[in-house]
Amino acid sequence: MANEFSLEIKNVTKHFGTFTAVDDVTVSIRQGEFFSLLGPSGCGKTTLLRMIAGFEVPDQGRILLNGEEITHLPPNRRKVNTIFQNYALFPHLTVRENIGYGLKVAGTDRTTLRSEVERMLDLIQMEDHADKKPAQISGGQKQRVAIARALINKPQVLLLDEPLAALDLKLRQRMLIELDNIHDEVGITFVYVTHDQGEAMSLSDTIAVMNHGKIEQLGKPGEIYEAPRSSFVAAFIGDTNFFEGNVISVIDPEYSRMKIDGLGEVTVFNDKHIQQGSPVHLSVRPEKFQLGRDRPEDPAARLNCFEGVVEDVVYLGSHTRYWIKVGEYRVAVMKQHARFLLDEKPVRWKDRLWLWWHADDGFMLEQYHEADEELLSVPDTES
């Protein structure tokens, strides 16, 4: 394929009445990429997907598939296929006929059709259920049939609309691995819509986090998680702690000093252009904190240490969440084991502890909206 990009979305806008579902979105998706559109319901991710599939027409902007404009093509003339949230298998057709539908419509001859369907049945290991109706197979099996029904058409891009939402947790985890394997096997571009950050994180090459019809941040899963640009991204993807303050001095090109109201002075990494005196918000992920009974050694002066009191201990199985009162803040800290301290005594309620984080682990946000704090699983400021 000549084009570097499989799919290009250029300044696409879509309104429904007075509501702007997709607001001037521009993004290019590379060949073979596993690309996720991640966001809460109503953020425009599904509308964007439906415009790529051809079920909605953009009010403005263009969509290109392998360099060819498809903005106004009807869905049946686009070389993309969709896996729908509820699978949308045809109830009156068997598994075999469902899988073969696309080829039948395309007028493929019988022999090819039969062998292709068999190949797909083999791929999804559904040979034994080929003559059953969709109502007779399980959710996970339906999911696999939906994948086969789409892939048999050899689409240039496969669109997946929350394909795992209807499955239970265990099955979802298994299908995640299967989807990943299928993507590696067929090598085509996947565009995956989800509101589940875990799914997006584990599958994607690139994630576009969407909010209010716009892409708030685009990047690799690691970048999005480690270096969120806005309070929305920080709060929507995983949990975090927000601190509010001002930059008081820029020490060197790498680090600055920041004063957090109600806490104290901290050292922060200069990953953005910041000016002295500008108000900023800092995000620190719960698992980035260290806890200790004693103040740690810090010859390089890169650690931000504060003394606090354990206010709450929430046991979550694989890890434990601690709420620690530090200054005016109530900080969420995540640790994997109960006995992680040097003295091996578990952390208890009302313990006095030192809490610190490395300057590199705090991220200054470009945009901050107070409303985004509601996205956190538990509000971390004053309770």
Partner: protein, 290 residues
């Protein structure tokens, strides 16, 4: 005391079984039996058994009338379904707040008595009636054309009378239909029309079958409509049966005609059912399998 699921099922279906047997099966058998009884001069049913009625049914007019009855009923059913499917489709796709209003519109004609509505048609179709004048104005008919007392008029009024009965079951099926399936079909390369024919119609087939039965069966037995808007050339079997009862006072003959009509419907239906049984797959036949 506990009952197994089978017993419970039987008990639950008992009332409807009693109803069906007592008010449907037994009367039908009675009608069949009366066909073999002699008639009395006072319009009653005589003693003993005779084949007189069966011989009387050989009347050469009857095949024509039965054929016409079946033909008109089939046409009515076909037209009603053709009109009802798009109607139901648009009703089901209308915004939710509009839907109950649209259903109301379908039901409202029932508020007026059936006979009055048929007479209204008679007035409309009358040579001096509104419809005739309107068509004349558009130069669609000649002044001499008679809109009434023919098969066309009977068909028109039958379709009018039974259309609601066709719309309602099809609407019920359409409302439950997952329109996402049409998008799925288009996504897989089908045109909109193809998706409608291959996915939508099979999806609402149950509603369509119900609608077809609900229209076809009463249409077969219709008697008032051909009586009022039809003429001698558009008589249906229902009219003949009525004549035998009210004019000739010959109950066995009327029963014979009824039995003939019942057989004319039931026998082809049983044949179709048997054929379906033999190839249960139909649509779901595996693609190109040996």
């Amino acid at each position: 005391m506990t009952w197994g699921p089978r017993t419970k099922e039987t008990l639950l279906s008992l009332p409807s079984m009693v109803w069906l047997i007592g008010l449907f099966l037994v009367p039908t058998l009675l009608v069949f039996a009366i066909s073999f009884r002699p008639s009395t001069p006072f319009g009653g049913v005589g003693e003993g058994w005779t084949l007189e009625t069966i011989r009387g049914l050989a009347n050469p007019n009857y095949p024509t009338i039965i054929w016409r009855t079946v033909w008109i009923s089939l046409s009515t059913t076909a037209i009603c379904l053709t009109l009802a499917v798009p109607c139901a489709y648009f009703m089901a796709r209308a915004p939710v707040r509009w839907r109950s209003f649209l259903v109301m519109l379908v039901i409202i004609p029932f508020w007026t008595n059936f006979l009055i509505r048929i007479f209204a048609w008679k007035i409309m179709l009358h040579p001096e009636g509104l419809l005739k004048k309107f068509l004349l104005m558009l130069h669609l008919v000649e002044p001499r054309t008679i809109l009434m007392y023919n098969e066309g008029a009977v068909l028109l009024v039958l379709v009018y009378s039974y259309l609601s009965f066709a719309i309602l079951p099809i609407y019920a099926a359409t409302e439950k239909f997952d329109f996402g399936l049409l998008e799925a079909a288009q996504d897989l390369g089908a045109t909109r029309l193809r998706a409608l024919v291959q996915i939508f119609l099979p999806g609402i087939s149950r509603g369509m079958i119900t609608a077809a039965l609900v229209v076809f069966i009463p249409a077969l037995g219709s008697y008032v409509i051909p009586e009022i808007v039809g003429g001698p050339s558009s008589e249906m079997i229902g009219n003949k049966i009525a004549q035998r009862v009210f004019v000739d006072r010959n109950l066995p003959h009327a029963s014979g005609l009824s039995a003939l009509l019942t057989l004319a419907v039931v026998v082809p239906m049983l044949l179709v059912l048997m054929l379906q049984r033999r190839s249960p797959s139909g649509l779901s036949k595996p693609e190109g399998r040996a």
